[in-house]
């Protein structure tokens, strides 16, 4: 029977009063891969809100590093590449896009000069998609749905 009762990640039964396992145990900080909430907010401000050019990010970090009273002279990001790579390293909600081209199964066998063949049969189309399993993993593991999900539909 599919009962919708709590199990561990290997499908073994858990006692009814077991506490829920912690999500993403490999990430010590909820702000990973950023060092802190402030690092995340700074990256969001620079990259997302301000859309600052790379050279200006470098200059800002240079000024930041030489700011008097700033404890060890280390800026939040060493340069714009460090900031970009931190953003790219965000694994939360990440499902890479792929965009293969496809054409009609008959396309290769159609005569090129026959005007009675509809043009869509000869055209190549771009299909953009990402991995459905990753998307569904994200949907099912979303803590917002905790009390609004049917474990045995």
């Amino acid at each position: 029977m599919i009962l919708g009762t709590p199990v561990d990640s290997n499908g073994g039964d858990l006692p009814e009063d077991a506490s829920a396992p912690q999500p993403n145990p490999q990430h010590r900080s909820p702000w990973h891969p950023f060092e802190s909430q402030a690092h995340f907010e700074l990256a969001d401000f620079i990259f997302h809100q301000n859309e600052m050019p790379g050279a200006q990010i470098d200059e800002l970090m240079h000024i930041w590093a030489s700011m008097p009273g700033h404890h060890d002279g280390t800026p939040p990001f060493s340069n714009h590449k460090h900031l970009y790579s931190s953003i790219d390293a965000i694994s939360e909600g990440d499902a890479p896009w792929t965009s293969p081209f496809m054409e009609s199964a008959e396309a290769g066998t159609l005569p090129a000069d026959d005007s009675s063949v509809p043009s869509w049969k000869k055209a190549t189309y771009e299909v953009v998609f990402h991995d459905p399993q990753i998307l569904l993993d994200h949907q099912i593991s979303n803590p917002d749905f905790k009390s609004h999900i049917d474990y045995s539909p």
């Binding site: 073994g12 771009e126 569904l136 949907q139 099912i140 749905f145 539909p153």
Partner: protein, 80 residues
């Protein structure tokens, strides 16, 4: 997107539950949906055929109210 539970769902679930290897697994019905949307850009018109993916586990109310219960799985772009 609203879903109505049907008997075929229950039939499939009972079939799956007969296999002892499925013990501890969760049955996740997959829902796909599509529509056509026309997007005008400076260089001309494209028709986009998006396909959306969701699961039958999240409650209807949540699927309608919460953007993250339905994901864009992919799209086909057709230049006009």
């Amino acid at each position: 997107m609203l879903l109505i539970k049907t008997d075929s769902n229950g039939y499939l679930k009972n079939e799956l539950s007969n296999d002892p290897d499925n013990h501890g697994a969760m049955f996740v019905p997959i829902i796909l949906g599509s529509d056509k949307t026309t997007v005008s850009v400076a260089t001309g018109n494209n028709e986009y055929y998006p396909i959306y993916i969701s699961t039958g586990n999240v409650h209807n109310g949540m699927r309608c109210a919460h953007g993250e219960a339905v994901s864009l799985l992919g799209f086909l772009a057709i230049p006009k």
